[in-house]
């Protein structure tokens, strides 16, 4: 710990942990010199485009390619028939199911990939998709998941009709994917039977799409002579892509190079392996030339991974003072046409069982059933860790509903049920060990900052005048940093993370990680961790990620895992280097290791001022003067398998005013306090919070993927899928407390997803609160002006006086 002014100066020069260092990534982005996938141009490159199904459910009677092939510039048209001999017409999903790469006899969702066209330019490829003639026989579509298990429901997946297991346990109907249960059914039942109060609520978390500004795409380049495949790809998990591509294609992993260059946002959308990638790779292998495939926005929203679509029922048992006695949750999960959910393979409902939240709940039981419908496959965490958003929404809504039922303030009901600050690590009824927390302090700080009591007074006055003002409150706990490999794997690969650090003779550093930034600025923040751990300036530390030929194997960036797992690997690898450096320093200073103290950027001999070696001097010595028996060089690798998840938390408060005649909501105030443990770069943390809150605002206030009864997707452009602009987006106020994670080497917990997870129920809480005095306890999202107006109208509040 630096204390003297001189030490603090040296520490500041490092720009290490805690410094709001400007981003290393910015100079290239502000000058148009980023390198995104669509910027990649290889010699001889050609373009792929997709023929897609207009039907949600249909049998393919015939496909006629002749006219398309006759168009000058068209090089190939591939269908499932062409991929069959290569056994590439189906691919495994991360959830144990299979997904059609190109529709095999049937289509199962609108816009499904039916054929791929390859042509010399993207205009010709687009023209040719219109010339491929596909004859369909339309079949009845299954859109409503509540009807999926009916005896007379149309059977969707003929390919797995006979199977009693599609990768996630026994199933009871051809449209059923899995049942997953956790917790104690009997004690929960008896808690509900004997409780003084029970509240129950159905709620729908609609299907939404992460829609990063850059769509998905790739450039595949197969070198026939060397037998090597290079793929530039928009992937949040390039190493997993390499493994999947190797398994699919039979090409050795060592001959496949996956490069995630700059990525224009991910938010979960870029975790999966999509038919477009696979067909571009196949086309490159077949044609021997590089092939580019880039989705347009309609394709992005319609076919690559969406999130949520959870139909939930929550039940809370409590006593009349509001103390919770038990929680039961039943969920019907609409997984679409193929179960290609991206999540740890053994967890069909992800980490949903974190749904006991920040509260000390003695018993709980959760059951989730997944079903097939004629909708696009996928299902990812949209800026959250695998269903944590759904879990937090459920428990935070239930807390409000219980508060209303008992006429207790929503802050007070939370205080009465919080896990106490001295009870950590705390084992939840559903089996998680929450590492650390201080929920009371966070809540108190927020209520103080916004003058909660005054807000309540103002609201009472407004209500008496017939105005609609709502106060939303949420005290959430997240679970991130997947995860301990004993609990989490992806296709059998444990969810560790990796870092490889090399210190050069002059003290500059290159480090490579298995994660990949999609905007989080890893090049900036990982360097800060190394700077603090090694006492070398951030400025001289180069971070590289995303190239599987150079980076160590890692599971990638999603589920807020970069800091909790990748950051831990970085710190541990750096500590290995420092341990070696200490030995070298002892050798140079001719003392024993134990006589040395670490001081910001150097080792000092205890009690002998001036006897010291800086890290730079040690780096030089590592290449020419090391102790006997030690190998030269100064580098280390760490594959970090976390002992536990991390549990960031926060307290959010939102104030809304609703226009009684239009239903429009004005977010007057949004105060977000986050505790993500140790803060590595406060500027970047705040930026992540702004972004997460804005995405939460989008989800709560307008995003949804609506399907009609035939399975037509009714909103798949930026015209009708809500992306808030500068104008709608509220002004955000941020705050923090610091409760370090006890098991993370730096005490850091991860932050980027908390604001998304926490803000969504906060908006709902505020909107419902505006109507709470009229007996309203819940309203489903999205809270668009029209839907809010419907509630106003139903309550008769829009009558002009």
């Amino acid at each position: 710990m630096a204390t003297t002014a001189e030490e603090l100066d040296r520490q500041a020069l490092l720009e290490g942990i805690g410094c709001s260092r400007k981003r290393k990534e910015d100079p290239r982005f502000i000058q148009g010199k980023g390198n995104y996938v669509d910027d990649v141009k290889l010699p001889g490159m050609v373009y792929a485009d997709m023929v897609r199904s207009p039907y949600a459910h249909a049998r393919i009677k015939s496909i006629n390619k002749e006219k398309a092939l006759a168009l000058p510039g068209v090089l190939a048209v591939l269908t499932a028939e062409d991929l069959k001999p290569l056994k590439l017409h189906w691919m495994p999903t991360l959830a144990g199911d299979v997904q059609a790469v190109l529709a095999d006899e049937k289509v199962h969702f609108q816009y499904q990939e039916v054929a791929v066209v390859v042509a010399t330019d993207r205009y010709i490829a687009a023209d040719a998709t219109e010339l491929v003639e596909v004859e369909y026989e339309a079949l009845p579509a299954l859109v409503d998941p509540h009807k999926a298990l009916d005896a007379d429901a149309p059977i969707l997946r003929e390919d797995v009709k006979e199977k009693d297991n599609v990768g996630q346990g026994p199933r009871k109907h051809p449209n059923h994917i899995f049942s997953w249960e956790v917790g104690d059914r009997d004690t929960t039942q008896s808690a509900l039977d004997t409780a003084e109060v029970v509240v129950k609520q159905d709620m729908l978390y609609p299907r939404v799409h992460p829609s990063p500004l850059e769509t998905c795409g790739c450039v595949a380049s197969f070198d026939k002579v060397k037998g090597q495949l290079t793929v530039y790809i928009t992937s949040q998990a390039p190493h997993i892509v390499r493994t999947v591509v190797s398994i699919l294609s039979g090409v050795a992993e060592s001959k496949i190079r996956i490069i995630s260059p700059d990525i224009g946002g991910g938010f979960g959308n870029k975790v999966g392996v999509y038919p477009g990638y696979v067909t571009a790779i196949v086309a490159s292998i077949v044609l021997g030339t590089p092939v580019k495939w880039i989705e347009d926005r309609i394709e992005n929203i319609s076919t690559t991974a969406w999130a949520r679509d959870y139909h939930m029922t929550g039940e809370l048992a409590a006593d009349i003072s509001g103390r919770i006695k038990g929680l039961r949750v039943n969920v019907l999960a609409d997984h679409g046409a193929f179960n290609s959910h991206a999540q740890p393979t053994k967890w069909p409902a992800g980490l949903f069982s974190i749904c006991t939240g920040s509260y000390d709940i003695p018993t709980a039981h959760v059951k989730v059933d997944g079903v097939y419908t004629n909708k696009s496959p996928g299902g990812v965490a949209y800026r959250c860790s695998f269903r944590v958003t759904e879990a937090v929404y459920l428990i935070e809504r239930m807390m409000d509903i219980l508060a209303q039922k008992l006429n207790i303030d929503k802050a007070e009901i939370r205080r009465r049920n919080f896990i106490k600050a001295d009870a950590f690590p705390y084992k939840t009824a559903l089996g998680w060990e929450v590492d650390s927390g201080n929920y009371q302090a966070a809540l108190a700080k927020v209520l103080d900052a916004v003058h909660y009591d005054d807000l309540r007074k103002e609201q009472a006055e407004k209500r008496s005048r017939g105005e609609l003002m709502g106060i939303g409150l949420v005290t959430f706990t997240e679970i991130v940093g997947a995860g301990p490999s004993k609990a989490c794997d992806v296709l059998g690969v444990g969810m560790f993370e990796s870092a490889e650090i090399r210190v050069h003779p002059t003290g500059s550093v290159i480090a490579r990680m298995g994660t990949i930034s999609t905007g989080q600025a890893h090049q900036t923040t990982y360097a800060q961790i190394i700077a603090t751990e090694l006492g070398l300036p951030s400025e001289d530390i180069q971070i590289e990620e995303g190239d599987t030929d150079t980076a160590p194997y890692g599971l990638g960036t999603y589920g807020s895992r970069s800091t909790p797992v990748g950051g831990a690997a970085t710190a541990v690898a750096a500590r290995k280097i420092r341990a070696k450096a200490q030995k070298i320093a002892a050798h140079l200073l001719e003392v024993s290791e134990a006589d040395l103290d670490w001081d910001v950027d150097r080792f000092k001999v205890k009690g002998v001022p001036g006897q010291e070696k800086t890290m730079k001097e040690i780096a030089w010595a590592a290449y020419n003067n090391v102790p006997d028996g030690m190998e030269m060089g100064l580098e280390a690798v760490d594959y970090y398998d976390p002992p536990n998840f991390t549990y960031p938390f926060g307290a959010y408060l939102c104030v809304v005013d609703i226009d009684k005649l239009t239903g429009e909501t004005k977010v007057r105030r949004f105060y977000a306090l986050d505790d993500c443990g140790t803060r590595i770069n406060p500027m970047i943390i705040e930026g992540q919070i702004h972004g997460g809150l804005t995405e939460g605002f989008a989800v709560a206030m307008g995003q949804e993927m609506p399907y009609d009864a035939e399975g037509n997707l009714l909103g798949n452009t930026f015209m009708d899928y809500f992306i808030p602009t500068f104008v709608e987006t509220p002004h955000w106020e941020t705050d923090y407390t610091v409760t370090p994670s006890p098991h993370h080497p730096l005490g850091a917990k991860g932050v980027a997803e908390s604001p998304h997870v926490g803000s969504i129920p906060c908006f709902t809480s505020a909107i419902v609160d505006a109507f709470a005095h009229l007996g309203v306890t819940h309203m489903d999202m999205p809270h668009s002006a029209y839907r809010v107006w419907q509630k106003i109208h139903e309550l008769g509040l829009d009558k002009q006086a």
Partner: protein, 158 residues
């Protein structure tokens, strides 16, 4: 398809390029003229990632035919820095953390470049409405507003 030769000024340099009549300006900039700073986020004129300055106005280059540029002047993000010196907006975006993934950034810069000429001393609200045609999925806009405001202050004649 018959090709046509067009000529225009790109970032103050004359360029000539052979195009098809149906080609969009954004594709010609990116693919023929290798100026990949201008991005495509939707191709339906909603996101503004493709915003460039054309004859003194902001346009979404996914909705402009390249042939319309014939004889005109186009400025892209690559032309914003002058003689190796960053534009004050570029500086401000860095200082105020106005970008994350960077995909919207060229469009944001080009729109704010024109906006500050239309309104050199804007309020926060004016910035928000003047930039509303540009979407960002990462930043939540707040720091972009801050950056545009601080650049405006720096650009004020002393």
């Amino acid at each position: 398809m018959a090709k046509k030769l067009i000529a225009f000024k790109l970032n103050n340099q004359p360029v000539e390029v052979l195009i098809e009549a149906r080609e969009l300006l954004v594709h010609v900039l990116r693919e023929q003229l290798a100026q990949t700073g201008t991005h495509i986020g939707c191709e339906t004129s909603h996101c503004g990632a493709c915003t460039v300055d054309f004859n003194g106005e902001s346009v979404k280059s996914c909705t402009v035919l390249a042939i319309q540029a014939n004889g005109g002047e186009v400025l892209t993000v690559e032309g914003l820095a002058q003689n190796g010196t960053l534009h004050p907006l570029q500086e401000a975006f860095m200082q105020d953390h106005g970008l994350q993934c960077g995909f919207c950034t060229p469009g944001m810069l080009m729109r704010s470049f024109r906006f500050l000429q239309e309104n050199p001393d804007p309020t926060e609200e004016e910035i928000r409405s003047g930039m509303a045609g540009n979407l960002c999925r990462c930043t939540g806009y707040q720091n972009i507003v801050k950056a545009v405001k601080s650049a405006a202050a720096k650009m004020q004649p002393a």
